[in-house]
Symmetry: C2
Subunit: 410 residues, 2 copies
């Protein structure tokens, strides 16, 4: 892998501008709540969206654009209100948001994607939204600070912004990719995550990009769970404006795997950021299944374990309660022989075998608690049934998760 990490987030690729600021949608006078991504030339766009049949207005709007146009110039994002379960007025507000931004930026409405995150139910205050869009259009810039502002403005209960950028050499040209996302609660993506945005100056065919994003999301965002709740707003958008000047990536381009690896690296990093910053969580919990008969079974089992409330509470309590892990594997729906299973725990404090052939290994509970006290914590589950593997990312279940969600709206 020949990627290199750099600064600049979503502004790192050529031709992208960002902005993030407070318009007044979220409570709390300090909280930024609107962001803009803008490309100086048309960018091919790919997207994956929530499979929840209750879809937010911006999801419906973006799906239409990705499907029928496959190209965009801007994304307008707000936090604070999800614009979900808002009926026809909600959709009309979303359309008006895109049209207003398009007007200010000299674009067609269908060149403007939108995304929202926050409380389900309330309508957007369009006066505030329009004021925000005007300020965003005026203040957009190519600076790292502007990218940081955008990454901050999309957050809700997240505790820190999540942005990354890297370069790769493709077709003899330096191609740059940037990404940002937000996660925290209602995170059990069934296609993308709450909100994730990736920019790149790569030149690539839209159909190739869409297929690639769909596949990579399956192995990254779709392997994350904070609480088992699939949002109404999950959106992952990837914009590629071609300014790197590489030969356009097509299905049979020899450099396509390099770009795919770079995208995978970005989405994997963002996925781990979301899991590790789950609502109230103290630790990223990474579960890898090895030796599965099929990759699908490896995915089902690893995801079942990161979704288990009992296992998550045990991680919070630094309790090597392997019975709960084996139990969650057992009810996952995947097939395996419990009598063959080995389980190891691993962290920066070392590693420990806790189960051998389905029953307790002879280990020290104190040593296990010590390993579980670090962050991140990894569990490796070996099925000894085949050669396939998969990894899922989750977090521990804490008092703080309950506090945040018992009192989210007040």
């Amino acid at each position: 892998m020949t990627t290199e990490k750099i600064q600049g987030g979503i502004n790192a690729p050529k031709g992208f501008y960002a902005a993030g600021l407070r318009a007044g949608i979220r409570e709390g006078k300090e909280n930024k709540d609107m962001a803009l991504i803008y490309s100086e030339v048309p960018a091919v766009c790919a997207g994956t969206f929530t499979r929840n049949i209750v879809k937010a207005a911006p999801v419906l709007w973006d799906q239409e654009i990705v499907k029928n146009h496959g190209s965009a110039r801007a994304v307008v994002i707000n936090s604070g209100i999800a614009n979900a379960c808002t009926g026809s007025l909600g959709y009309e507000n979303c359309r008006e948001e895109a049209a207003y931004a398009a007007d200010l930026l000299g674009l067609a409405p269908e060149e403007v994607l939108t995304a929202s995150t926050g409380v389900i139910g309330p309508q957007l205050n369009m006066e505030i939204v329009k004021k925000g869009i005007k300020m965003l259009a005026e203040s957009r810039s190519r600076t790292t600070e502007a990218a940081d502002d955008a990454a901050t403005a999309i957050l809700t209960t997240d505790t820190h912004k999540k942005e990354i950028a890297l370069t790769a050499c493709i077709g003899g040209k330096k191609v740059t990719i940037g990404g940002m996302c937000k996660g925290s609660g209602m995170i059990h993506p069934n296609m993308g995550t709450m909100l994730a945005f990736v920019t790149s100056d790569a030149a690539i065919e839209q159909s190739v990009l869409q297929q690639m994003v769909k596949e990579v999301v399956e192995d990254t965002f779709n392997m994350v769970s904070v609480d088992g709740d699939t949002s109404t707003n999950d959106t992952c958008l990837v914009l590629c404006n071609g300014l790197a000047g590489n030969p356009v990536l097509e299905e049979d381009s020899s450099d396509l795997p390099v770009f795919r690896e770079a995208i995978t690296e970005i989405l994997t990093w963002l996925s781990k950021q979301i899991a590790g910053d789950g609502e109230g969580c103290t630790r990223l919990f990474e579960v890898t299944v090895k030796g599965a008969g099929t990759r699908k079974e490896a995915k089902i089992i690893s995801k079942s374990v990161v979704c288990s409330n009992l296992t998550k509470a045990a991680v919070f309590g630094k309790d090597a309660n392997w019975g709960r892990i084996l139990c969650a594997m057992g009810y996952s729906g995947a097939n395996f022989d419990p009598a063959l299973v080995d389980i190891d725990l691993e962290s920066s404090k070392g590693s420990l075998s806790i189960v051998r052939e389905g029953i307790a290994a002879d280990y020290s509970e104190e040593r296990a608690a010590d390993i579980l006290s670090a962050n991140p914590v990894r569990a490796i589950l070996h099925l000894h049934q085949g050669e396939e593997s998969a990894t899922a990312w989750g977090c521990d279940l804490t008092y703080e998760y309950v506090r945040i969600n018992a009192d989210y709206r007040s």
Copy 2:
């Protein structure tokens, strides 16, 4: 319905004896941890068991008996250790437990069912278990106190015992049915619940009983979720010894529906007890879906809502966060039109429309919080798609759930 509630729990039906006492398996000097159910004549037995592929030793033992013999005289139960993930030694211990009890009670080993609940992993101390069985055999009696002791001895993190008895008139005879169960954590039964035992003096064919129990469990225990974790030990056993003297109930008996209704009443009551005493919970949360196109969809949707961590935390916080309910309906996998959905909240404090046609009704948050402060809380979700309905039972998600499970073994 012509059933009548009476005292006596599992000892209420003719010919059943019970005992419950402390053998020394659980920690805490006060905790009873072994129970016995004994019938003075052979009882036909039906059972449903966990669908987790990691099955505890007693589940394997009982499945064999229900399938191949269909008749039993006794059940030996322990709490504290689940005898799950204990390998061949665990199964041998289970077999020895049955054989030892059979010897003392003058029965064949395959007339003795077993059940265990508690920590997954450790082996049973057979010296303690045998001492316990000896005391149980000696102290068994037909008193209400003995039934109470048995219902107490099967508990783990439950806060109170769960027992019921009722009578019905079948074939001109008074038939009595008693039941007890335990739930609390790792409760997301995929067939029965953690442990439930029903006794009756009804005369009934084993195949008719097995089919009825299977069907009724689908609508009762399988509609309960405390935390989404399906246990390795879930067991529901129904023993009918025929001493009521009614004509043997067969598939086409005109009184079979009466017995079925009585069994349904028992299992429904036990299911609500389990949900309402979920680990750490403060409130039973009952979700009824009405107007569904199919009964299966009504069940999927109602269960999805009671399983949603976000909805459960909102119930704990007395927050009428209907967006989370609609969200959980949407990712359930069932099909419906979100724009038609009405949602009402209901409790002893009154009822309130919070959603009409998929968007917020004009309601007072204070009034909603007041309704949500009572126990139990009910949500009625009307899909306006058809005539089918279903109910699921869960509970709120609290700090106490996290505390119990972060620190269960210590």
